[in-house]
Every structure is written in structure tokens, then in C-alpha cells.
């Protein structure tokens, strides 16, 4: 299933492909306005949920997987520290505090002889 590591050319293709595609997304409606008038309602309804869905999909696996295996117990320090950080993120909505508390909790849990 796993391929060879991406070579230099492939990495440039990732850089250019993702950058050009993202630029097209950013330009889309800014360029189309005047010709289009407004965003189709069905698209607007769907786009509203993109941040919630994408960000959760990026976060959760990083907390519950430990060395490639599902780890939902108290020995998973990342899950514990991440849960505490989630509470901080929810209460403060501050990125800085979320990182400070989360990293601090992880180091504390790792280095404390519990």
C-alpha cells in the first residue's frame, strides 16, 4: 500500500499543486462576482460546516492514536493533555493559551514520576 517516499519532483508538485489550487479557491468568487451575483445557497449551507468538520478530523486522530494503535486509556498522555487543552480552547478561544496549557500538561505528565 505504501509507495516510495516522494522524490524532489513530487514534492515540488505538491507545493505547486496545493498552492495553485488554493489560490483558485481564494480567487473563485472574488473573480466571479459581477458575473454571478451571489453564492448558490446549497454551497453556502455546506461551506458553513467546513471548519468544524475539517479541524476535528485533523485533531482527534492525533490524540487517540499512540504509535499507530488506538489508545484510550490514562497512559496516553497526549489524550489527557489534549483534553485539558480542549477545555482551555473552549473557555478562552485563545490559540496561545491552548498551546501553552496543552504543551505544559504534556511535559508535566511525561516528566512526573507518576
Amino acid at each position: 500500500m505504501t509507495a516510495q517516499p516522494l522524490g524532489g519532483v513530487s514534492i515540488w508538485l505538491v507545493v505547486v499543486g496545493a498552492s495553485v489550487g488554493t489560490f483558485a479557491i481564494r480567487l473563485s468568487f472574488i473573480a466571479l462576482f459581477g458575473r454571478l451575483g451571489e453564492v448558490p445557497p446549497w454551497l453556502e449551507r455546506a461551506l458553513k460546516f467546513v471548519p468544524a468538520a475539517v479541524l476535528t478530523a485533523l485533531v482527534v486522530p492525533r490524540l487517540v492514536y499512540l504509535d499507530g494503535a488506538l489508545a484510550l486509556g490514562v497512559d496516553n498522555t497526549r489524550l489527557l493533555a489534549g483534553s485539558l487543552a480542549a477545555v482551555v480552547a473552549w473557555r478562552t478561544e485563545s490559540m496561545l493559551w491552548t498551546i501553552v496549557v496543552g504543551m505544559g500538561a504534556l511535559w508535566t505528565l511525561e516528566w512526573l514520576p507518576l
Partner: protein, 242 residues
């Protein structure tokens, strides 16, 4: 519009974006570390930061590169993470309708969460500047410091990335960053459901072929949100009729 108007609008944008920089600088450093860690050489990593100008998508993409995912999946995942810019483009497009084609390219390049949020607040608030006049300079004033800080902090991460001890577990800062972005984005029951469904699917999809787990999870979450909202609206309409 005089040159001094443009300059003062630009400066006002710079002032407004400064509070957002402290959170962005560690993000850039961490993204730089992750990018060289996944096998990008320093030039590729710096180019990626400067051309993509989207931290969450960059981190998601380089992780997949590190996991040997196929090229198409890497690019598609980055684009799905950046789908939210469609929303911003639509919202700002109305304000920037009368800009020249060249300016439209410029404002589009710099469009992301912070520049969007500041500019929309400015254009829809009291004493709003004309987006085709001083407004575009205000927008650039928010964008240029942000881009500069992003690329600068990325370079710091790229240069020192190899020297950060593994025991610091700096990669754990990435999910923490995303959490900091996630909670402000949650608004109402359907968006919570979108998050829960995407999270469950992401965990279930870790072993999926071609590393399509994040793609499937994100799309599944979006569908769940749309359906939940539709059901909620339907239920309200039924209540109102009865």
C-alpha cells in the same frame, strides 16, 4: 484618492493585525519544523510556506507526505482543508466587486481567516472605507505583516527544525493549534454534530487505503452538518404550521 489616504489606511490595517501575530509565529515555527521533518528540503519548505500561505493545510499535507500518501491525496487534502476560503471569497467578493483584475489577484492571494475577519468587520462597520479605494490598502495592511511573519517564522522552524530534540514533542502543538481554531468555529448543534461525525470518521478511517481518512472524514462531517440543519429547519417549520 491621495497617497496619504492609502498610507494611513495601510497603517490602520497593520495596527489591527498586530494582535494576531503572536499566535501565528509559533504556528509558523511548528509548521516549518514539521515540513522539513517530512522530507522537504529547506527551499521547498520555504516556498511552500510563502506560496500556499495556509498553515493548517500545509501541516496536513506534509504529514501525508511523511506517511507516503499518493500525491493526488496530499493535494486534495490540502484543498479540502482550504475549502473554507470559498466562503471568505464569496463574502469579500461582494465588497471587492469593482476592483481591477490585478488587484483581485492580489487580495485573493492573501485571503485567509485573519485578513478576512478584519476586513469584513471594517467594510461592514461604521465609517467603512471604500473597498475599491482606501479599503484595499487597509486589507493589504492586514495581509503584508501576516505573510511576512508567517514566512519569517517558517524559516526559523526550517533552520532550527533539525535541532529541536524529539523529547520536546513539539509536533503535539499542531493538534493544539487546530483546537484553538476549532472552538470559535463551532456555532450551534449542527456544527457540533459535523465535528463529532468528522472526528469519529477520522479515527475509524486511519487505516483506509491511500490515506484518504481525513478527506472522507471532512466530507462526512460536512454532510452530517447539512443534514442536521435541514432536519432542524424542517422540524421548526412543522412546529410553526401546527
Amino acid at each position: 484618492m491621495s497617497g496619504s489616504d492609502a498610507r494611513s489606511a495601510f497603517r490602520s490595517g497593520v495596527r489591527d493585525v498586530l494582535p494576531a501575530l503572536p499566535a501565528n509565529i509559533p504556528f509558523g515555527v511548528i509548521a516549518g519544523v514539521a515540513t522539513v521533518g517530512a522530507g522537504f528540503d529547506p527551499v521547498q519548505a520555504a516556498a511552500f510556506a510563502g506560496m500556499l500561505f495556509a498553515g493548517a493545510a500545509q501541516v496536513a499535507a506534509v504529514e501525508l507526505v511523511g506517511e507516503r500518501a499518493p500525491l493526488a491525496v496530499v493535494v486534495l487534502t490540502a484543498l479540502v482543508v482550504n475549502l473554507r476560503y470559498l466562503m471568505y471569497s464569496a463574502s469579500l467578493g461582494a465588497h471587492f466587486r469593482d476592483l481591477s483584475a490585478r488587484w483581485k489577484l492580489v487580495v485573493s492571494f492573501f485571503l485567509l481567516d485573519v485578513t478576512y475577519a478584519l476586513s469584513v468587520a471594517k467594510f461592514e462597520g461604521p465609517n467603512a472605507p471604500d473597498p475599491t479605494g482606501a479599503g484595499r490598502w487597509y486589507y493589504l495592511g492586514t495581509a503584508v505583516p501576516l505573510w511576512t511573519a508567517w514566512v519569517g517564522s517558517s524559516v526559523v522552524g526550517i533552520v532550527f527544525g533539525a535541532r529541536v530534540p524529539q523529547s520536546w514533542q513539539l509536533d503535539f502543538a499542531i493538534p493544539l493549534l487546530f483546537m484553538g481554531l476549532l472552538f470559535p468555529a463551532l456555532d450551534g448543534a449542527p456544527s457540533y454534530l459535523a465535528g463529532v461525525v468528522a472526528g469519529v470518521l477520522a479515527v475509524a478511517g486511519v487505516g483506509l487505503p491511500f490515506n484518504v481518512g481525513i478527506l472522507v472524514a471532512a466530507l462526512g462531517g460536512i454532510v452530517a452538518g447539512v443534514v442536521a440543519e435541514g432536519v432542524g429547519t424542517g422540524a421548526r417549520e412543522v412546529q410553526e404550521q401546527s
